[in-house]
Amino acid sequence: MDLAGKISILADAAKYDASCSTSGSARSNKGGVGNAAVGGICHAWSADGRCVALLKVLLSNACAYDCAYCVNRRSNDVPRTGFEPEELVRLVMDFYRRNYIEGALLSSGVIGCPDATMERLIAVAKTLRVRERFNGYLHLKAIPGASERLVLEAARWADRLSVNIELPSAASLRAVASDKTPAAIFGPMRVLARAGGFEPRRLPATSAQPAVPLQDSPAETPVSFHSQLPAVSHAVRDIRPMEGGADLPARASVMDARALRRRDPGAAVLPAGQTTQMVVGASPESDLHILTLAENLYLAYDVRRVYYSAFVPTGGDSRVPALAGPPLVREHRLYQADWLFRFYGYSAAEVLDPLHPNLDPSIDPKAAWALRHLERFPVDANTADYRELLRVPGIGPRSASRIVRARRLARLSPSALKGLGVVMKRARWFVSCSGTMAVDAGRVLDRPDALASLLRDGADTLLEPLQLEFAF
C-alpha cells in the first residue's frame, strides 16, 4: 500500500478523536526544528468545520479491543494497516517543515497489550525529539491499562497526553466497551495529573449529582464510576436532591480553581497537561451526568480540556443505539456549558439540576440560566463587577474586560456598549447604563417565555438536518 493510502486509512481511523488543540506549551526551539506556540495555532479546517492542527493518525488500526462505539473494533470489517515507525517520523517532519501542521497526535489501536502499544508510541515520540531534534507539539494517547512507568515515560517526550473516558458511566463502559475498566482509565489519569505537578484531590459534594435514576436507563441501577475516582467519591455517596431554595455548592467554580493554579507552559514534562473525551449519544447518560463528571475532572485531576464527541454510528453494533446521525445540537450545547465552566465562572449545579437534567436544544445554557434568574437583572454596566457582567447574555470575556477598562475613564452609555463589542441584540434586555436601558425591558422581564423566544440562537435548526431522535 502506498503512503497516501495508508494515511487515508489511519487518519480515517483516528478522526473521531476530537482533541485538536495545540495550546498550553511554550516548548522552545533548542537547536533543531520547530517550537510550540502557547496559544496554539490551527493550520486548516476540514469540510466538517473542525480545525486541523495536528497530524492525527493511528500507528495501527488493528485493535485487540472490541468497543462498540469505535470504528476500529476488532469485530468491524474495515481494512487494516499500520505505519512503520520510521515512515511516521518522516511524515511528521515533512509535514511540519511545510507548516501543514503544528505537530502530531499519535494514537494506536491496542496491538497485543496496552504496554506493548504504549512502547511503540513512545519510540516514535522519542525518535522525533532526540534524533530529529523536533520541538513541535506532540500529543500522545495514553492507552487505558498501560503501566505507570510507561505513562511517565510518554510524559517525558510529549507536550500533552490524554486518556479518553469515552463512556461516562461504569455501567455504559461495561455494556459498550467491556475490554476497558474505570480503573484502567483513571489510573493513567492520576499518574498524568501528578506528572504535571498536580495532586489529585477529593472534592466536596455537589448538589448537581443526579438524584433521580439516570434517564432512559431501564431497570439497571446506575453504577456511577465516580466511585472509582477518589477525588469525587464523596459526590456519589452523598446524593442530595436539589430542593426549592437549595444553596449552590460551596466549592469553587472551574474558572476560579484554574485561576489559582500555577501553570508553566515552559515545563520540561507535560507542559500542556492532559485532556479527555466523552462520546455523546452512545449511552443513556443525561447532560447533567456528563457535565458533572466533566466539572469533577477539571477540579480533581486538573484536566485541561474535556472534549465531547457526538456519536457517529459506524455500522450495526447492537450494543450502541441506532442513531441516524450524530447528535450535533447536543454536543454543541455541551461545549457551550463547558465554556461557561472555564471562562464564565459557572458551576454544573447552576447550569442544570436533577429536575432539569438535559440542556435545552433551542437556547444556549447561559441565556437559559439568565431566564431562570431574571431577578438578577438588569445588571448595571457602570458598576457591576466583571463576573456579574459575564452573566449577561451578549457579553463575553472580551467585552466584559473592555467595559471594566473603559468605565474607569468615562461613564458608559448603551451605544458605547455596542462599540465595545457587546451583542446588544441579546444584552439589551439584561443590561443598563446607570439606570438607562436600550429598551423598555420591563415589559418582557416578567415574561420569560416572550424573552426566551427573543434569545433563541437557531443553532438547533442549523444543525437540524443531522439531529435525530435517540432510540434506546
Binding site: 494515511i7 487518519a11 479546517w45 476540514s46
Partner: protein
C-alpha cells in the same frame, strides 16, 4: 471639516504608506500639540482626499522615525507602541489617522489612555490592532511552504492586513536553519530568512519561476518529493473530515475562501482524477 477660525482649510499630513513616514507625520503632530495647537490629522497619501483639506506631504526620514520610536517606547511602553504598529499594519481605512491621535494621547497621558475605549480613536486603535493580530495568527497557520529543488522554501499568502512584519519572529524561531521566503502576493513584499540570520522584509519581491515553468510547459522548480507530499497532505486533509458532520459554512467561516488559492489541500484534485 471644522473651521479653524482663520478661514483656512485644515492641514492634513500625508504619509507615503510606510511606517517610518507615518512616524514622521506623527512627530509633526506632537510638535503642534506641544506648541499649544490642535494636532493636524494624518492620512495615507494614497487614501481618498477630503473636500476641505490642505494636504501637506511629509518627507520620509528613517533616522528621525527611529529616534521618535525609541522615545515613544520609553514614554508609553513597548506594549502600547506594539499596539500602534499593529493598528497601522491593519490597513483599515482610518486606522492610521486614529493611530496618530492615539500616539499623541499616549505621549501626553501614558498607557492609561489605551483604556479610554469610549473615545472613537482609542477604540479604533484597539479594534484595528486586534484585527491585525487575529490575521497574523491565522496566517501563521495557513502559510504553506513548498520545497524548491535547491533546498530552499517558498510560500505565498494574500492577507488583507500587512501581517508579514508581525509573523517574522514566529517563523524565524520555528525554522532557524533554513532559507525561506513568505511572499505577500497582494503587496509584493516578502519575508526573507537565511539560516542563522534575522529575517528581513523585502518591499518588492518576485518569484516568477512557477509562472515561467508553466509557460514553457516544464515542471516548476520544486524538489522531487514536493508533489508527492502535497498529495499526501491533501489525502490526509480529506480523510480527517467526518462525512456525517459535513458543514462547509463552518469551514468557510473559520477559513475564508479568499485564502484557499494558496492552500494545496483546497486545490489538489480528488483521488483518481489526476
Amino acid at each position: 471639516m471644522s473651521d479653524t477660525g482663520r478661514g483656512q482649510p485644515d492641514a492634513v499630513l500625508l504619509h507615503d504608506g510606510s511606517f517610518s513616514c507615518f512616524l514622521c507625520a506623527v512627530a509633526e503632530c506632537l510638535n503642534a500639540a506641544m506648541a499649544g495647537g490642535r494636532p493636524p490629522a494624518v492620512r495615507s497619501a494614497g487614501g481618498p482626499a477630503g473636500l476641505f483639506e490642505n494636504p501637506v506631504p511629509v518627507a520620509r526620514d528613517d533616522a528621525r522615525a527611529a529616534v521618535l520610536w525609541k522615545r515613544l517606547c520609553s514614554r508609553a511602553g513597548d506594549a502600547s507602541m506594539r499596539l500602534v504598529f499593529e493598528a497601522f499594519c491593519s490597513d483599515r481605512p482610518g486606522a492610521d489617522s486614529s493611530a496618530a491621535v492615539a500616539v499623541c494621547r499616549l505621549w501626553r497621558e501614558g498607557p492609561r489612555a489605551l483604556s479610554d475605549l469610549a473615545a472613537a480613536d482609542m477604540l479604533e486603535l484597539e479594534k484595528a490592532s486586534a484585527r491585525s493580530r487575529a490575521e497574523a495568527h491565522l496566517i501563521s497557520g495557513l502559510v504553506r511552504f513548498s520545497e524548491l529543488a535547491d533546498g530552499s522554501w517558498y510560500a505565498s499568502v494574500r492577507p488583507s492586513c500587512d501581517v508579514l512584519p508581525l509573523i517574522g519572529d514566529h517563523f524565524s524561531a520555528r525554522f532557524p536553519d533554513a532559507l525561506w521566503a513568505i511572499h505577500d502576493l497582494g503587496r509584493g513584499s516578502a519575508l526573507v530568512h537565511e539560516a542563522g540570520a534575522p529575517w528581513v522584509l523585502a518591499r518588492s519581491f518576485s518569484f516568477t519561476a512557477e509562472e515561467e515553468a508553466q509557460a514553457s510547459g516544464g515542471v516548476p522548480p520544486y524538489s522531487a518529493a514536493e508533489r508527492e507530499l502535497r498529495h499526501a497532505w491533501s489525502r490526509y486533509f480529506d480523510a480527517v473530515a467526518i462525512q456525517e458532520r459535513s458543514n462547509p459554512r463552518l469551514q468557510a467561516g473559520h477559513m475564508p475562501k479568499r485564502y484557499w488559492a494558496d492552500l494545496p489541500e483546497m486545490n489538489d484534485a480528488p483521488e483518481g482524477s489526476q
